[in-house]
Structure formats: structure tokens, C-alpha cells
């Protein structure tokens, strides 16, 4: 039963801080709901006079080509996209910039500082920190991308259908989403992943999808509800279009933008979440090379060898920052109200 007093989470409107949305029952802390707040709220009005706001346009452009034009000129987007491209490349081919083997270690060099050919020094096991930092990108990017894809697909499918058809399915979905929001993310991760023994990335991905989809579903539902009330959807219905056609051809293209924005920002926070879980010892496990594991191992030795912690931590922070900035830029570009 969607209660009437609560303003419908309608539409995507990041211009105003709509407190009700920004704080509505999101999960208990943890990075994921922050992504939602971030995506939905704050910031933004400053760019009212974005490129092309003043001058006349030659011909009408679609939202997407317009957004692309704006994005290309946004330095934040260019920098973060370049960074992400770089990260993706080294997560696929880490050999390009790191010649060593991350699992080949020499205990005699334990905790030594930087040496020629080993700019970041060695960790407690005598492994080369630079090589491990480079190889650590793969785990983080894999988890981030897969978890985001999974959560976005599942969330937008369920949320979109619930928003489009309404009815009892809609109420059920909202309640189920509430239940998932009630579980603290890190806590759920600890409980759920502590019984898993697999050393691959998939349990972590699965868990993030499991707790991540309700957020996306909520956004998708709201934006589909707004889109389906448009005149062109009614026109399509009047012309005899079926539900599938209306949903896929008319509603979805006009409702997908907020989902993309939330998903991009969530990607950054999922990476941070994976690192937090690995840090707590339940996320990825050795021999997987992961920034979270390395930071966790280095943490107890921070007084003797801070370099072991700083390099992977820096890499992790820059990666998360890149994705959050990308999401920020994409949001500014995709919201026509800001232009």
C-alpha cells in the first residue's frame, strides 16, 4: 500500500533537495544508500548556464546527443573517463605496466622501502607493492562492473514493471525493498559472506546485487511512473500499442536516464563496499589480489611501514573518486532542467 501522504517518488528531479526523497527509508548506512542520496539530491543548480544555453541551436537534438555534447566539454568528465579507461585497460592487461608477478614474494625484503625498479617498496611478505597495486585493479573493477550490471538489470526490470503495471505487484515490491533497506549493508555482508568459502569474486558480486537492486528498483519505478503519464504514451495506447511496445519503445527510453546516473555513482560505492568487506575479511580472499586485502594486511603494520597501506589505499580512493565524478558529470549532462 503506497501511502498517500508520502509524496510519490515521482520522476527524477535533482534540482531541488527534496528532503523526502533524499532521506526516505534508505538502508542503514553503508555506501549504497549514499549513492542514492548523492544521485538524487544536492548540487547542480550552479550549471544553469551550461554550454549552449544562450545561443540558438541549429536543429533540435535528442537528449542523448545533447548530453554527449555537453559531456565532451566537461573537464570533470574527460578526466574521470580517461582515468576509468586507464583502470579498465590495466585490469585487463596488468602486464602492460607491471612486469613482475604479484604472487612472487621474497621474505628477505619484508617491509623494505622503495628500491630501484620497485617504486612502492615491499609488503610484509616481501611482495612488490607496485605490482600488487596494479594487479589489484582487476578484482575491484570486476566486482564493481558486474555488481552494477546485475543490480541495474534486476532493479530496473523489477522496478520498471512494478511502476508500469502498478497494482499488488507494485505494493509487494515496495515492501520487499523496505525489508532489504532495513538490513545494514556491512552487517549483512559480514553475516552472509562469512559462511561462503569460495575464493572467487562471485559471492561478493552476488551479495552486492542482492542488497543493491532495491535502490535501483526504487529509482526505476519512480521514473517509469512519471514517464508513463506522458501524452505520447497515452497516444500510443490510443493507437492500440500493446503493453510490451509501450514499455519498451515509449516509456523505457524516457525513463532510463536516472537509472544510468544512479548506477554510475553506485559503481564507485560498490567498489568501496567490496574493499570494506575484503578489509573485514569476508569479501575477496587470497590468492585473489585485492586492494582491500592488502590494506587490511598493511593496517596492523602501519607504524612500521605506512607505504604498504598508502599505495593501495590511494589507488582505491582514486578509483572510487573517478566513478563518482563520472556519475556527477553524467547527471549534470542528462538532466535537461539544469541547462
Amino acid at each position: 500500500m503506497p501511502d498517500p501522504e508520502r509524496p510519490e517518488p515521482a520522476g527524477y528531479d535533482p534540482v531541488g533537495p527534496r528532503p523526502k526523497e533524499a532521506v526516505s527509508p534508505t538502508g542503514q548506512g553503508g555506501p549504497m544508500d549514499l549513492a542514492l542520496d548523492e544521485a538524487e539530491s544536492v548540487e547542480g543548480i550552479e550549471k544553469t548556464a551550461g554550454p549552449g544555453a544562450g545561443g540558438p541551436r541549429e536543429r533540435p537534438r535528442s537528449l542523448w546527443s545533447d548530453a554527449w555534447h555537453q559531456l565532451r566539454r566537461n573537464p570533470v568528465f574527460v578526466i574521470s573517463a580517461a582515468l576509468i579507461l586507464f583502470l579498465v585497460v590495466i585490469s585487463i592487461w596488468p602486464q602492460l605496466i607491471a612486469s613482475g608477478d604479484p604472487l612472487q614474494c621474497d621474505l628477505a625484503k619484508s617491509q623494505q622501502g622503495s628500491a630501484p625498479g620497485h617504486p612502492f617498496g615491499y609488503d610484509t611478505q616481501g611482495c612488490d607493492v607496485y605490482t600488487r597495486t596494479v594487479y589489484g585493479a582487476r578484482a575491484s573493477i570486476t566486482v564493481g562492473v558486474c555488481a552494477t550490471l546485475g543490480a541495474a538489470l534486476l532493479g530496473s526490470a523489477l522496478g520498471g514493471l512494478a511502476g508500469f503495471f502498478g497494482g499488488w505487484g507494485d505494493s509487494l515490491l515496495s515492501r520487499v525493498a523496505d525489508i532489504f533497506f532495513g538490513i545494514p549493508v556491512v552487517l549483512g555482508g559480514l553475516v552472509f559472506l562469512s559462511v561462503v568459502t569460495s575464493t572467487t569474486v562471485w559471492p561478493v558480486v552476488g551479495f552486492i546485487v542482492l542488497l543493491g537492486w532495491p535502490q535501483i528498483a526504487r529509482i526505476a519505478r519512480g521514473s517509469v511512473i512519471t514517464a508513463k503519464q506522458n501524452d505520447y504514451v497515452q497516444a500510443a495506447r490510443a493507437l492500440g500499442a500493446g503493453n510490451a511496445r509501450m514499455l519498451l519503445r515509449h516509456v523505457a527510453p524516457n525513463a532510463v536516464a536516472p537509472v544510468i546516473v544512479v548506477a554510475t555513482i553506485a559503481l564507485g560505492t560498490y567498489i568501496a563496499l567490496e574493499a570494506t568487506l575484503s578489509f573485514l575479511g569476508v569479501g575477496l580472499r587470497p590468492p585473489t589480489v585485492s586492494w582491500g586485502i592488502d590494506i587490511s594486511n598493511a593496517a596492523s603494520q602501519i607504524r612500521n611501514a605506512p607505504h604498504m597501506l598508502l599505495w593501495p589505499a590511494g589507488a582505491l580512493s582514486i578509483t572510487v573518486l573517478a566513478f563518482i565524478m563520472l556519475g556527477d558529470a553524467v547527471r549534470d549532462a542528462l538532466d535537461p532542467k539544469l541547462r
Partner: protein, 307 residues
């Protein structure tokens, strides 16, 4: 208003049952508490069966859940496997975490709103841009990194504060952990109040106040701030629940013996009654905080009425 509260309370019931059952399921069905009791040794089957019977673990899961919930509502949270009752653990842990949360909220309010007001009033200037960039950076650096970094710098290198917190957790030792816990939310409070201020600064009532000759400080504090803080206050309200559950990492770094510490230990040792009991309380806190925020919202903004 009364009817609204009652309806909200009723709506909480399925969410409460769902969340606690999910956690209950994860703890009791995915893990094996009895095997965990024996550590690395394989339990003697007869003993294991006896313990299962004593702990009600030989029943189907839904019966266990009902039994457990029934006990909880009589105030019996069960016994942790080390023999201490879970309520005893809670009595030790919750005050500590509550103190930590209050310290965190204090910093969120003071620093977050101040920064937000400053940057909101100077929208587009250097101060504003640098605050925005700073908040983005703060959001991007995970808590466990900032935690260890600040602990190392302030506690070890410069020796300004004690790097770890003693078991009593007095307020002055909780300042650094409080800041670490608050940082990410602090960044959000900053951004939220900045947007809110920047938007309201153009509102008619601000112009009226300025036009009738009020000093700028009064316009900002009495007129602008009061209207702009509504979303911020509600955000902070929900954050109380979030911070209490999210303190696992911070408490681990600074060795604080609060809720997060007990939960972490409970999960590592597969200490099911501890985990489920603490989570149940956290879920209740979270749901109540949400309700309070919604009610508070109506108090702060008289335009909103709950039937």
C-alpha cells in the same frame, strides 16, 4: 496525526519480520552454530544432538524463528556461547556506541552545516568549489582508510590523542573515532545544506528580510537557516540509525567495545544469539528513527500535514 502514527507502526511490522527473518535465516540456516561451538574439532554426534535439542535447533527454521521472537518479546535475548546473556552484552555495548554516534552527529551538525552555509552563500566562488571538491574526495576515501590514516597521524606520529580507546570509552577519547565515523555523512550534510541554502537565498522572504533592513547575520540565521535546514535535519535523523549499524569498521580500528565490536566477534565466532539479537535491536532503532524523521518533518514544515 495519531492515526498516521498507528498506520506507520502497523506498516513496520512486516518490514521488521522480513528483515529479522532474513538475518535469522542467514545466521541459522547458512552457518552451523553447533559446529562453531566446537571450533576445529569435529563434535561428538550425541553431544551435538543434545545441544541442538537444548538450543531448539532441531526444529524447522520457522519454528525456531517463532520461538526466538517469542522469547525476545519477553525480554530474553538468549545466551551467548560464552555463557554471558546477550542482554548483558547489550548493556555494555549500546551505551558506548550511542556515545560514539552522538559525537559523530555533533561533528556532522557543527562542521557540516557551517561548511554548507559558507559555500552555499558563496555559490560558484573558490570557497564553494573547493568545498565541493573536498566533499567528493571525502566521500571517495573509504572509512577504513581515513580511520587508519588519522589514527596513525594524530595518535601515533603526532601523539595528540590516544590511538585506541579504553574499555570505558570516555567522551574525550571518542573525538577522533567520532570524526572518522562522521566523515562521509558530514560530506553529505555539507552538500545538502549547501544546495538548500543556495536555492533559498533567492527566495522572496529573504529579499523581504533584507529589504526591511535586517542585518545580514540575522537574515541568515533566523530566516535563511531555519528554512533551509529542514532537509538537513531529516537527513541527520535517519543517519542516527545508519551510524549505529555502520560503526563496525570504526569500532574495529579504534578498538571500541561497542555494538560493532560485539557483532564482529559474534559473526567471526558464529555466535548466533548475539548476532541476531543485536541486529534485531538495530533494525528497530532504524525503523523508529525513520518514523521519527517523518514526524519531525511535519513539525518543521507546517505545510505538511499527516491525516
Amino acid at each position: 496525526m495519531g492515526r498516521y502514527v498507528i498506520r506507520r507502526l502497523l506498516q513496520m511490522i512486516p518490514v521488521f519480520i522480513g528483515s529479522t527473518f532474513l538475518i535469522f535465516f542467514m545466521v541459522y540456516a547458512l552457518g552451523d552454530p553447533v559446529a562453531a561451538l566446537f571450533g576445529d574439532k569435529a563434535p561428538d554426534p550425541a553431544t551435538a544432538a543434545r545441544i541442538r535439542k537444548d538450543l531448539y535447533l532441531d526444529q524447522p527454521l520457522w519454528k525456531q524463528y517463532l520461538h526466538y521472537m517469542g522469547a525476545i518479546f519477553q525480554g530474553d535475548f538468549g545466551t551467548a556461547f560464552n555463557g554471558q546473556s546477550v542482554t548483558e552484552l547489550m548493556a555494555g555495548a549500546f551505551p558506548v556506541t550511542l556515545r560514539l554516534t552522538l559525537v559523530a552527529i555533533f561533528f556532522e551538525i557543527v562542521i557540516g552545516i557551517t561548511l554548507g552555509v559558507i559555500s552555499g552563500l558563496r555559490r560558484g566562488r573558490t570557497v564553494d568549489t573547493s568545498v565541493l571538491v573536498l566533499t567528493l574526495v571525502v566521500i571517495s576515501v573509504p572509512t577504513f582508510v581515513t580511520g587508519y590514516l588519522l589514527q596513525y597521524l594524530f595518535g601515533v606520529k603526532w601523539g595528540w590523542v590516544r590511538p585506541t580507546v579504553s574499555p570505558d570509552a570516555p567522551l574525550n577519547e571518542l573525538i577522533l573515532p567520532g570524526i572518522v565515523l562522521a566523515l562521509v555523512s558530514l560530506a553529505y550534510v555539507t552538500r545538502l545544506s549547501r544546495t538548500s541554502i543556495a536555492e533559498n537565498v533567492k527566495a522572496d522572504y529573504v529579499r523581504t528580510a533584507t529589504a526591511k533592513g535586517l542585518p545580514r547575520s540575522r537574515v541568515v540565521t533566523r530566516h535563511l537557516l531555519r528554512n533551509s535546514l529542514i532537509p538537513v535535519v531529516t537527513f541527520i535523523g535517519t543517519d542516527i540509525g545508519a551510524l549505529m549499524g555502520g560503526a563496525i569498521v570504526t569500532e574495529r580500528i579504534f578498538n571500541i567495545h561497542g555494538v560493532g565490536y560485539q557483532l564482529y566477534q559474534g559473526i567471526l565466532r558464529n555466535n548466533s544469539p548475539t548476532v541476531v539479537g543485536f541486529v534485531t535491536i538495530l533494525v528497530i532503532v532504524f525503523l523508529l528513527a525513520n518514523l521519527l524523521v517523518d514526524l519531525l518533518y511535519a513539525v518543521l514544515d507546517p505545510r505538511i500535514r499527516y491525516a
